[in-house]
């Protein structure tokens, strides 16, 4: 029983991480049809923002030493600022471009950020100590669950709740949903395109900062490639969940996290190294069965 409970919690916490990532990607995709390949590098940037640039092995933490009620808002702000800056400087010019062009532009942006970080900080991972007490396990019905996992799940649910309320109840949320469904029509009806897109980027940036904080606290290191894995899965989850559907992306994130954990727990020992192949295989199967995504909104289905 405890083993099953452990697996459920592992699946939930890994799924939450992927869900947060998927949310960041889906929001921008919804309003701009842009897959932001730089998202993983935004995550890494937010983590490195806590350190003073240096190529030494030991990190000189400057912002990381602030108390949590200052550090968290600061990092969220940095994430939002970076994201909005990339919108203003880079993505704004690509509004009407081919999706492939936008994708490559976002990849190039991520490339630039990653190599900038590499130049400033070198590739050696730096240690960051953030709230080590969160690593201690909490006992729950016999299963030992690290406090951090619980915090991750709680944060994800909270973020989702806030976002759902925002999207469904506020005017800005309404504008965002309209823009996601049909951008041109929404503009004609008076939605301010630039404001909505900027807002989507800001929220996405804050989500990136949140993921960065969770990853840094969990692993205790700051490493250039930190957000890459989450970004990849988030991208896949956005598509499987159904393009244009934000709750779909979140659900798909949870599903992929669960699949990964379940495969790890149930595959025989020699097959375990092929876990990722199984996960990708499952993704392909899902796409074959439901190409428009698991939770595609009705507008996504082609009428012809």
């Amino acid at each position: 029983m405890t083993a099953v409970l452990q697996i459920i919690f592992d699946a939930l916490s890994l799924g939450s991480l992927y869900a947060l990532g998927a949310l960041g990607i889906a929001l921008i995709f919804g309003v701009m049809r842009l897959v932001n390949f730089a998202h993983g590098d935004f995550i890494a940037f937010c983590v490195f923002a806590m350190l003073w640039p240096s190529v030494d092995a030991a990190a000189i933490v400057f912002a990381g030493q602030l108390p949590f009620y200052l550090l968290i808002p600061l990092l969220l702000l940095i994430g939002a600022a970076l994201s909005m800056a990339s919108e203003l400087i880079v993505f704004r010019r690509f509004r009407n471009a081919n999706p492939a062009t936008m994708m490559i532009a976002s990849f190039a942006l991520g490339f630039v950020i990653r190599h900038l970080l590499l130049m400033l900080y070198s590739s050696r991972p730096k240690s960051i100590t953030l709230w080590p007490s969160l690593g201690l396990p909490v006992e729950f019905l016999g299963a030992h669950i690290p406090m951090l996992q619980v915090v991750t799940i709680v944060i994800t649910l909270a973020v989702l709740a806030v976002l759902v309320l925002f999207l469904k109840r506020t005017r800005y949320g309404l504008e965002m949903r309209a823009a996601a469904e049909n951008f041109t029509m929404a503009r004609m009806l008076g939605v301010r395109a630039n404001a909505v897109i900027l807002l989507a980027f800001a929220i996405s940036g804050m989500l990136a900062a949140a993921i960065g904080l969770i990853l840094a606290t969990n692993s205790g290191t700051a490493d250039i490639g930190m957000g890459a894995n989450v970004m990849l899965i988030a991208f896949i989850a956005t598509v499987i969940g159904g393009l244009g559907s934000v709750p779909g992306a979140v659900a798909a994130g949870f599903l992929i996290g669960a699949a990964s954990v379940v495969f790890q727990a149930t595959l025989p020992h020699d097959a375990r190294v092929f876990r990722d192949a199984f996960v990708y295989g499952a993704v392909i199967v899902v796409l074959l069965v439901r190409p428009q995504g698991l939770f595609a909104p009705r507008s996504a289905r082609q009428r012809v």
Partner: protein
């Protein structure tokens, strides 16, 4: 298509591949004559990249679908070449899981390369039957999944592929002339495909999917053909790469290579063969320029050098800048030809229509 129609198409468009091949020949000759050994290697690398990106164009440019998985064909081609050309003595120690007939085979480059291409094409045929039913971004993600699966399997099937560690022993038989030959061959295949009936049909589905299928074009079949042809070309590129470096490992055929290849294609012009070649040449030249600036250039008595690591940042910024001002790429989706720029627009540029397939 009647013979006279076909001949007129060839007459109108044949200048494109000829111009491309001659331009590359000029680059090869100049590099061979005046370039240092490292520069010659850079040129060979560029030719191999041309093979990859032209192969990518055959699928992406003609079908309009972005594929993230094509580099897995490069992996397949490279490893097949490795299996066929490494001396049996070395293979029996490190790759014990290979079947006996493969362990004892050793073929020269000219035999191993087409077999590698065919192997990649066969794999594409099997996988494509499944994936090509998908459309739009679902297909792109499925190809992503393909890349992930191939990479994961090749990285962990130690007895057959050597796992993540590199395997060595492939004869280093790539010279600048074989490089050029490979690139020219890729261009020829891509050209022949694009003027073929299947290529035209596929481009019709790219520009106007609904009307095309209403006209009786079997979209899945045409896409599959493009998928297989592109896999063949990229498989050849993988074989060339193996002979170039003499060492292969799965990490070289994963995300970084995928995105660099896609960048070169999009920067050059996604929907044109000239675009594919131009993108590779321009970016390769820029990369080499910045790398030399990092090494330091002496002007007079002064030596200036960019700090290490600037090259990658500069290339990223330049890519963004090019795409910002020329969103359809450097060639603006047109092909190079001798007089008759206007004629080419019919074949290369996608039409703007009201109903576009949801991407």
């Amino acid at each position: 298509m009647t013979m006279s129609q076909r001949r007129s198409i060839i007459r109108q468009t044949i200048t494109t591949p000829i111009i491309l091949m001659l331009a590359l020949l000029a680059i090869a000759a100049l590099t061979y004559q005046f370039g240092s050994r490292p520069l010659n290697r850079t040129a060979v690398e560029m030719f191999i990249n041309i093979m990859v990106v032209v192969g990518l164009y055959v699928f992406v440019g003609n079908s309009g679908l972005l594929s993230f998985g094509h580099i897995s064909f490069m992996c397949l081609g490279a490893y097949m070449t490795a299996w066929l050309t490494i001396p049996p003595v070395m293979k029996s120690i490190t790759l014990k899981g290979l079947p006996a007939w493969l362990l004892h085979t050793q073929l020269p480059m000219w035999a191993a390369t087409p077999i590698s291409g065919a192997f990649a094409a066969l794999f594409a045929l099997i996988v494509g039957r499944v994936i090509m039913r998908l459309s739009g971004i679902a297909a792109s993600i499925a190809t992503f999944g393909l890349l992930g699966v191939v990479n994961n399997v090749y990285s962990n099937w130690d007895s057959v592929t050597g796992g993540q560690g590199s395997i060595v022993g492939i004869p280093p038989t790539m010279t600048i002339w074989t490089g050029w030959l490979g690139a020219a061959f890729a261009i020829v295949i891509a050209y022949l495909y694009s003027i073929s009936r299947s290529g035209l049909a596929l481009r019709a589905t790219r520009d106007e999917a609904v009307a095309a299928s209403a006209s009786g074009i079997d979209m899945v079949r045409e896409r599959l053909i493009a998928f297989v042809v592109s896999a063949f070309i990229i498989g050849l590129a993988g074989a060339a790469y193996a002979h170039f470096l003499s060492i292969v490992n799965p990490g070289a055929f994963y995300l970084r290579t995928t995105f660099i290849a896609l960048s070169m294609l999009v920067v050059g012009g996604m929907y044109s063969l000239s675009g594919a070649v131009t993108g590779v040449v321009v970016l390769s030249v820029l990369i080499e320029l910045f790398r030399n600036l990092e090494k330091g250039v002496s002007l007079g008595g002064l030596s200036i050098a960019l700090p290490n690591g600037v090259q990658e940042i500069a290339i990223g910024i330049i890519t963004i800048a090019i795409l910002m001002y020329l969103p359809t790429g450097l060639t603006r989706n047109r092909e190079f030809s001798v007089g008759g720029w206007l004629l080419q627009r019919r074949f290369a540029r996608p039409a703007q229509t009201a109903l576009k397939e949801l991407n």
